[in-house]
Amino acid sequence: MKATFARIMENRWFSRMLSPMFLLLLALLFSLLTGGRFSNPRNLRMVLEQALVVATVATGAVFIFATGNVNISMGAATALIATLAAQAYLASNSLAVMFLVALAAGAFTLAVTALLSTALHVRVLYITVVMMTLLSSLQKGILGSSTIQIPYEFTSALKNANVPLYIFLGFLVFCIILFHFTGFGRKLRYIGINDVCAELTGFKKSRYLFLAFVVAGIGVGLGAVMTIIRNGSITTDTAASLNMDCMLAIVLGGMSAFGGSRSYVHSAIIGAVTVTVLNNGLLMIGVSSMILQAIRGVIFIILLVLSQKRPKGLPSQEG
C-alpha cells in the first residue's frame, strides 16, 4: 500500500496534473457552494485579472527556480521598476516609453543581480537578500513620502482594452517556447538537477544563470507595467507582498521547490489562480477574512506536502 502510494507520488503525470486538478475541483466546489455565482463570467474574469501580475512575474521567475535557485528580490524589483516606469510615463506621456523603460530596467536590474552572484561567487539567495533591501531603499529614496498617481482615464482605457491579459499571454507563449521547446530550457533544468554535473558536461552555469535572470527581469518589467495599470498609483507599499505571492504560486502550481526536471512554466499561472480562487471563493461563501488566512494556510500545507517530495533516484548533488 505504502509502496503504491509512493509510486503514485513519484509519477511524473501525477505531479504535473495534481495542481491543475486541485484548481478545477476547487472552482467546481465554489460554484456549487455559491449557487453558480462563482462561475459567473464576470467573476471568473475578475479572478483572472487579480492573478495576472503574480502570474507574469512568477512565470519569469520559473527560469531562476528551475536552476535550483531562489530570487527573493522580485517584489522589491517590481516596485522600483513600476516607480521608474510610472515616472517615465508622466514625463513623456507615452505608453511606449513606459514599456521600454520597464523592460530595460527589469532586465538590467536582474542581470546585475546574476552578475553579482557569479562574479563574487556568492550564492544567489544571499545576493537577492541584499538586492531586496537595496532596491527597496532606492524606491523609498525616489518616492519619499509621495504617491505617484497615474491618470484614471489612462489606466482605465488600458484595463478595458485587456492590455494586461495580452501582455501576460504574449509572455507566457514566449516562456513556454523558450523553456519547454529549446535547448536553453533543458539546460536550465539540467543545472537544477545537478549543477556540478552540468558544468562538467560543458554548460557554463554562470552564463545560463545570467540568461535566466534576464528572462525573469523581462517578467518583472512586464509585471511592473501591469501593476501600474491595475493600481493606478505607486507608493512605497506597492507590491509589498508580491515576492511571497510569486514563490507561493510557483510551488502551489506544481513545480518542485528544488527546480530541475519537475519545472513547468504553467505552474506560475496555475498557482497564481489557485491563490486567487481560494481568496475569492472563500469570501463568497461567507468565510471571514480573519479565518480565511488560516484555511488558506492549511490548504497550502496539504498541497506542498503532496507535491514537494523530491523523487527518489533523481540524480542530485547529494548523489
Binding site: 455565482r37 462563482f38 459567473n40 467573476n43 475578475m46 485579472e49 487579480q50 501580475v53 519619499g144 513620502s145 509621495s146 504617491t147 498617481q149 484614471y152 482605465s156 501593476t227 491595475r230 493600481n231 493606478g232 498609483s233 507608493t235 507599499d237 506597492t238 507590491a239 509589498a240 507582498s241 486567487t276 481568496n279 475569492n280 469570501l283 463568497m284 461567507g286 471571514s288 477574512s289 480573519m290 480565511l292 488566512q293
Partner: protein, 396 residues
C-alpha cells in the same frame, strides 16, 4: 362567496407574512457593505464592535471586513471580491489608495466612502463616489491645542518634546497635530518661532523649535516600535518634562517615561493620541512615582467617521445618493474633531459601559437616514459632538 373567502385568506396570509418577516430594522432592506482597513489593531476592533452592535442592527446592514491592506493593488482585489460576495457599498480606511479605490468601486457600480483627514484629490466626480469622511486635519490641530492648553496652563515653564509621527511623510492629521501643538505653545508662552511652524512640523529629522523666549521645544519625527530607541535617550537626558505624541505613544514610551521619572524624581506630563481603552483608563487612574497621573491628556481616535460613512452608504444604496453628494461630486464630511480627555473623571464618563459607539444612539443614526437626510445634516451632527457636549449628554 368562495372568491371572497380566497381573497380574505390571501389578505390574512399577507398580513401574517408582514408580521413574521419584517423588511429589517425600521423597514430597511438588508444590505451588505464592505469595510477595507489598513490595520487590524485595537482601533479597528473597537470600530468593528460598534458596527456589529449598533450600526448593523439599526440600519439592517451586514459587514464584510478586509485583512490589513497596504496598497492600491490589495484594495482593488478586496473591492472586487466584496462585489462578488454581494456587497453594494464599500467603506475604505486606506488613505494612500482612497481615490484609486473609488475608481474601482465606480467601475463595479458600488457606492463608495473613503476615510481621510483631507478631501479627495482626484476622481471626486465619479458618480458612485459618495463622500470622504474623517476628522479634518484642522480638527486634529484644534484638539491638540486644547490638550496642551489644559495641561500646561499652570504658569510654569516647561521643556516639551513633540513626536510628529508621520508628519514628515505628508500625513495631514499628524502635520496638523504637531502644528496645533506648536501654535498652542506659542499662545501659552507668547513666543515667536524663528522658523515657519509648518516647516518645523514636517521636518524629517529631529529639530529644535527655536524661539525668542528660549523655551525648549523639540520636534521628533517617526512612529512605531523604533520610536522607543530614538526618544528614550532624549528623555534620559532629563531635559524634557512634557511628551506630546501625535501618534499612539503610550504603549511604546510609558516604560521609558516611568524609568526617567523614577531616576530624576521629576514628573513628565504625558499627552498621547489613543482609543479610550482599559489601558488608557488605568493610566488616567494610576499615579506615577512622583504622585501625578501617568496619563495627562488623550486626543481620541475619531470614531464618528465610521458611523457617518455607513449612514452615507445606507442612504446612497436606498436611492438618496444625490443628497449625500455635493454638487455633482463626492461630499466632504469631517464631522467631529477628535475628543480631548484631560482627567480620569472625563475618561470614566466617556468610556462608561452604556455609552454608545461614537457617542451616537440608534435614534441619532435613524434621524440621519431617509429621503430628507443630507450630508450637511450628518456633518453638522458630527460637529456637535464636542467633548463638552458629549459629557453633558451622557453624564448621568
Amino acid at each position: 362567496m368562495k372568491a371572497r373567502k380566497i381573497v380574505s385568506l390571501v389578505l390574512a396570509l399577507v398580513m401574517l407574512l408582514a408580521i413574521a418577516v419584517p423588511a429589517g430594522a425600521e423597514g430597511f432592506r438588508k444590505v451588505k457593505v464592505a469595510y477595507a482597513t489598513n490595520a487590524t489593531d485595537e482601533t479597528f476592533v473597537g470600530r468593528k464592535k460598534g458596527l456589529e452592535e449598533l450600526v448593523g442592527p439599526t440600519l439592517n446592514m451586514e459587514f464584510m471586513y478586509s485583512e490589513a491592506l497596504s496598497d492600491a493593488g490589495a484594495l482593488t482585489t478586496f473591492i472586487e471580491n466584496a462585489f462578488a460576495s454581494g456587497c453594494e457599498g464599500v467603506f475604505v480606511d486606506l488613505a494612500n489608495a482612497m481615490d484609486q479605490g473609488a475608481a474601482v468601486a465606480n467601475d463595479l457600480g458600488m457606492w463608495y466612502v473613503g476615510v481621510s483627514s483631507a478631501d479627495s484629490a482626484v476622481n471626486y466626480d465619479l458618480p458612485y463616489y459618495v463622500s470622504v469622511v474623517g476628522a479634518s486635519a484642522q480638527g486634529y490641530g484644534t484638539s491638540y491645542a486644547t490638550a496642551i492648553e489644559s495641561v500646561l496652563s499652570d504658569g510654569e515653564e516647561h521643556s516639551i518634546l513633540i513626536l510628529s509621527g508621520a508628519a514628515a511623510y505628508g500625513a495631514t492629521s499628524f502635520i496638523e497635530g504637531t502644528a496645533g501643538s506648536l501654535r498652542a505653545l506659542q499662545e501659552i508662552y507668547g513666543l515667536t518661532y524663528t522658523r515657519d511652524i509648518n516647516e518645523l512640523a514636517t521636518s524629517s529629522t529631529s529639530v529644535d523649535a527655536e524661539n525668542d523666549k528660549g523655551v525648549k521645544i523639540t520636534v521628533v519625527p517617526g512612529m512605531g516600535p523604533d520610536l522607543t530607541n530614538t526618544v528614550s535617550p532624549m528623555l534620559q537626558s532629563g531635559e524634557y518634562d512634557v511628551v506630546v505624541g501625535t501618534t499612539t505613544i503610550y504603549g511604546s514610551l510609558s516604560v521609558a517615561v516611568d524609568e526617567v521619572e523614577k531616576a530624576t524624581g521629576k514628573n513628565i506630563f504625558f499627552i498621547s493620541r489613543d482609543v479610550l481603552s482599559d489601558t488608557i483608563g488605568n493610566a488616567f487612574h494610576t499615579n506615577d512615582s512622583t504622585g501625578h497621573p501617568v496619563m495627562d491628556a488623550v486626543v481620541t481616535q475619531a470614531t464618528f467617521e465610521t458611523v457617518s460613512g455607513m449612514i452615507l452608504l445606507r442612504n446612497a444604496i436606498d436611492g438618496y445618493a444625490d443628497n449625500m453628494r455635493a454638487d455633482g461630486r463626492c461630499s466632504r464630511v469631517p464631522g467631529s474633531a477628535p475628543l480631548v480627555v484631560v482627567s480620569a473623571e472625563q475618561f470614566d464618563i466617556l468610556s462608561a459601559e452604556d455609552i454608545p459607539f461614537a457617542f451616537c444612539t440608534a435614534e441619532d443614526i435613524l434621524a440621519l437616514t431617509g429621503p430628507d437626510a443630507t450630508w450637511e445634516a450628518i456633518d453638522a451632527f458630527g460637529a456637535s459632538l464636542t467633548t463638552e457636549a458629549v459629557i453633558e449628554k451622557f453624564n448621568k
